[in-house]
């Protein structure tokens, strides 16, 4: 008996516990809002309305969610192989470089539907390459991936600053960014889908990267649970000794997992770069890589959970922006605090309430505290 607590039914595990964690996060956030002298209920209403009330809000929420799906999947893939990839941030940044090179050279001669696939490959390849080096160092030299990926975030930032104030900056421009892409490198918007439901949209950046993100979520599910490679990654993730026994090469599996993780991170850049800004600017990732860690944890490393968690964080971003606008006492930084609380309760303190809930379940109905039905002969 290695587990001190019995299992909960699946619905409580995947529904009730996240809901409780989230509620607690919002209650604590409510106190913070009270502390600055605002009404927490009105703040909550503004937040939710800002995110889902109008068509434009929904479009923005989904636009942010798209970014977080990519980074969340990136973190999750590595985590299934027990690698803590903190480098999603830098890998996404370098992915942006790949996109910039493709778009800047092709946008005048080709339509978007030719450039897009090429840019996807470039983004993935650049991100994968940025994941490869720490992976190689871990596999061959034993340098810890957490340390190296953090360092590579800084290196990525420096490289990009150098390029964006130097070679990639158009002559004569003051802004540290590439020139704006031409129409050939602009992705179609998806706002019409929301408009189909009758909502009005002024202007919002939701674009076809959202669909790409959903496709990737499905492909990652396939990869992890339905392919040989995913099987090997999970084996290594649960037990390196068992992987060794099973003839799974440690070097190969670490490098492969990190490259896939890096590729997903790199693809994140498609959304803001080709879908919204139409240029690559300094610091365009702005923390989305770190949010990916929270999204992956909250989504229990499962693509469906990650999509849901990404939408939640998209809501916090969009609704938070509205809130900062509507309530002057609440600054941008307060929004970050609220986001931090969600990460704290849903991610870091995920198991805080579990024992109590288990005790509760055990006393109310002991039968429910077990595994799902087993149709064996019994023993």
């Amino acid at each position: 008996m290695s587990t001190p607590y019995a299992k909960l039914p699946a619905w409580a595990d995947y529904g009730l516990i996240p809901l409780i964690n989230l509620s607690v996060a919002f209650i604590v956030a409510g106190f913070v809002v009270m502390l600055v002298g605002e009404n927490p209920f009105r703040a909550a209403v503004i937040l939710v309305e800002g995110a889902f009330g109008k068509g434009t809000g929904i479009a923005f929420t989904l636009f942010y969610a798209t970014t977080f799906i990519f980074t969340g999947l990136s973190v999750a893939v590595a985590a299934h192989c027990s690698l803590f990839n903190i480098g999603t941030e830098g890998q996404a940044y370098i992915g942006g470089l790949g996109i910039a090179l493709v778009c800047l050279s092709l946008d005048s001669v080709m339509p978007w539907w030719v450039i897009f696939p090429i840019a996807i490959v470039a983004a993935a390849a650049f991100g994968a390459l940025w994941g490869l080096i720490p992976a190689y160092l871990q596999a061959k030299r034993g340098s810890h991936i957490v340390i190296t990926t953090i360092m590579f975030n800084f290196i990525a930032a420096s490289v990009m600053v150098y390029l964006l104030v130097g070679p990639l900056k158009p002559a004569g421009s003051q802004a540290p960014q590439t020139r704006n892409f031409l129409a050939g490198a602009e992705l179609p918007k998806l706002n019409w889908i929301i408009e189909l439901f009758g909502a009005k949209i002024r202007s919002a950046p939701l674009n076809i990267c959202f669909l790409l993100a959903l496709v990737m979520a499905f492909l990652i599910w396939l990869l992890i649970w339905r392919t040989r490679l995913g099987y090997e990654m999970r084996t290594y993730g649960h037990s390196p000794k068992a992987a060794r026994y099973a003839g799974i090469s440690e070097t190969r599996i670490i490098i492969t997992a990190m490259m896939i993780s890096g590729a997903l991170a790199g693809m994140m850049a498609l959304n803001p770069v080709m879908g919204d800004q139409h240029n690559v600017a300094i610091d365009f990732v702005s923390g989305a890589g770190y949010v990916g860690i929270a999204v992956a944890l909250m989504g229990r490393l499962h693509p469906v959970g990650i999509v849901l968690a990404a939408i939640l964080f998209g809501m916090l971003y969009q609704g938070g922006a509205e809130l900062a606008f509507e309530m002057p006492a609440i600054s941008r930084d307060m929004i970050v605090i609220i986001q931090g609380l969600v990460i704290l309760f849903a991610g870091a303190l995920e198991h805080m309430f579990r024992p109590y809930i288990q005790a509760l379940f055990a006393s109310v109905s002991p039968k429910s505290v077990g595994m799902q039905a087993v149709n064996g002969k019994g023993a």
């Binding site: 339905r226 099987y231 084996t235 026994y245 099973a246 003839g247 002991p366």
Partner: protein, 510 residues
């Protein structure tokens, strides 16, 4: 009968459709040692977990010292004077003995004063019960036998009057097990009550006063130990006669299939674990390696199976050398007909978090049978897993159940089924029946002998002398990394015991 320390009345517990405990009644008298035996998956651990507050019974009553109690957490159990020594120790590896003992029972905000108090209390307990351990030793540096003593001390320190031990001797050497039993007897003499779960019927006969037998979730019999026999207990457990020693014909040894020459293996600290070992295993024979745990057997197996780097020597599989640099691909060795049942099924042979069907392809997951291009062929894997479940009587027969939720013996069957069903030419097996019930031991032994009779080369490493003697056609004894003797299956236990203790070896060296 003396007053009952524990009474369990009408206990029921189900996990989904599996009824792990049905209407269990059990009474244990104060100041006695009570044994519980039963097949793998009979529900022994579940019952004790209910008593210790890990699980809640669906229905039934628990009485401690005659009073009805409700135990919903292990803290409740501890408060009632119930202590448990877990099969997998729950100690903090890099803490000292003292720190582990007081962990969770510190009663002052300042550690310093409670440490001083704890030290004298620990000292008293050690003296009173003959449980010597150095309070300042770090856990990870202690041998398992001593770690177990720390677990016992931990329970006593919390005031345990009733001590539950779940398969305590599975990991112990025979000498350590003897010492444990002396301690248990002493505890009993001091009035403590002990519940002992074990698969080794000999231990039951040696130390318990009364014994209960469980089968498929029910309590089928309780006996006074003096009035029963090993044969009767085995029969009660399994519901049929059990062969405690499987019959086998004369071996017909053929060509050499596995050949080890001058193999030397060092561990990570540079200590020689396997010292210039040579032997052959022929097709159609079982070679058994006996020895007290820790004399190089594990390293030997790992080197042969390509997992561990060897310093020097040569291993030939079917006439071709195995890469001993530690870079050998175990997958390739599998293709060449080497199957390996590792000693440590929890960390090496299985991924406990996987579903049963996923484990039934571990190591063979790149076999075409289980794949459709890069994808796993889920239907084929499932059908294959069901097939093995059927053949090896793995219970519960659900290939989607998480492997951690199978009982120990059934986990072992999952590994054996996987390795044996690949039809390997050479099979190496570490501790084939650790934690496995008598019925399953008989089954596993029959299977191993059937492999032999099909002309396979079988190498078995076991710390159980009985097992080695009943399976092997030839017995090699390892001591301090060397093979110190070879005997036939007729060798007596005493003779092998002396070899295992290194006696003859030392005399020869002088």
């Amino acid at each position: 009968m003396a007053q009952a320390a524990i009474e369990l009345i009408g206990i029921n517990k189900s996990f989904g459709a599996v009824r792990a405990n049905r209407d269990i009644n059990l009474e244990v008298a104060r100041g006695t040692i009570h044994g519980i035996v039963g097949e793998n998956g009979a529900g022994k651990s579940t019952l004790m977990s209910i008593l210790y507050g890990f699980y809640q019974a669906d229905s039934g009553e628990i009485r401690v010292g005659g009073k009805p109690v409700s135990i919903s957490t292990s803290n409740d159990a501890i408060a009632l004077g119930i202590g448990m020594v877990h099969q997998h120790f729950m100690l903090v590896d890099n803490f000292t003995v003292l720190e582990n003992v007081i962990l969770g029972a510190e009663n002052d905000a300042l550690l310093k004063s409670s440490i001083a108090k704890a030290r004298s209390e620990l000292d008293r307990l050690e003296r009173e019960y003959g449980l010597e351990v150095d309070p300042d030793a770090v856990i990870e540096e202690l041998p398992v036998g001593l770690q177990q003593r720390v677990e016992i001390l931990k329970a006593l320190y919390r005031g345990a009057e009733i001590l539950i031990l779940d398969e305590p001797t599975g990991v112990l050497t025979p000498a350590e097990a003897d010492h444990l039993f002396r301690i248990l007897k002493q505890l009993k003499d001091q009035g403590k009550t002990i519940v002992l779960i074990t698969h080794k019927l000999r231990e039951i006969m040696a130390i318990t006063d009364t014994v209960s037998v469980m089968r498929q979730g029910t309590m089928v019999a309780t006996r006074v130990t003096k009035e029963t026999t090993v044969g009767e207990l085995a029969e009660l457990m399994v519901g049929r006669r059990v062969l405690l020693r499987v019959e086998k014909g004369q071996s017909e040894a053929g060509a050499v299939k596995l050949s080890v020459k001058n193999l030397t293996v060092k561990d990570s600290r540079g200590v020689t674990m396997v010292d210039n070992v040579s032997f052959d295993v022929r097709g159609g024979e079982i070679v058994g390696i006996a020895g007290v745990a820790g004399n190089g057997q594990s390293e030997l197996l790992e080197a042969i199976s390509g997992i561990r780097h060897a310093v020097s020597g040569e291993v030939m599989l079917e006439g071709k050398p195995i890469d001993l640099t530690g870079k050998a691909d175990p997958g390739e060795l599998r293709d060449r007909g080497l199957a390996h049942v590792p000693e440590d099924r929890h960390h090496v042979g299985l991924v406990l978090a996987f579903e049963e069907n996923e484990n039934s392809i571990l190591g063979y997951h790149d076999d075409e049978r289980y794949l459709k291009g890069p994808f796993l062929d889920v239907d084929a894997i499932m059908a294959d897993a069901k097939d093995k479940i059927e053949k090896y009587d793995i219970r519960p027969g659900n290939p989607r159940l998480k492997t951690a939720n199978f009982s120990g013996g059934n986990q072992q069957k999952i590994v054996l089924a996987r390795e044996m069903e690949q039809d390997p030419g050479v099979l190496i097996v570490g501790q084939p029946t650790r934690g496995v019930d008598v019925g399953a031991i008989e089954f596993i032994h029959k299977r191993l002998i059937a492999m032999r009779d099909q002309g396979k080369a079988v190498l078995v490493v076991s710390v159980e002398l009985d097992e080695i003697r009943s399976l092997s056609d030839r017995i090699l004894v390892m001591f301090a990394g060397r093979v110190v003797g070879e005997r036939g299956p007729e060798a007596t236990e005493g003779e092998l015991g002396l070899l295992m203790a290194g006696v003859e070896h030392q005399e020869a060296a002088e």
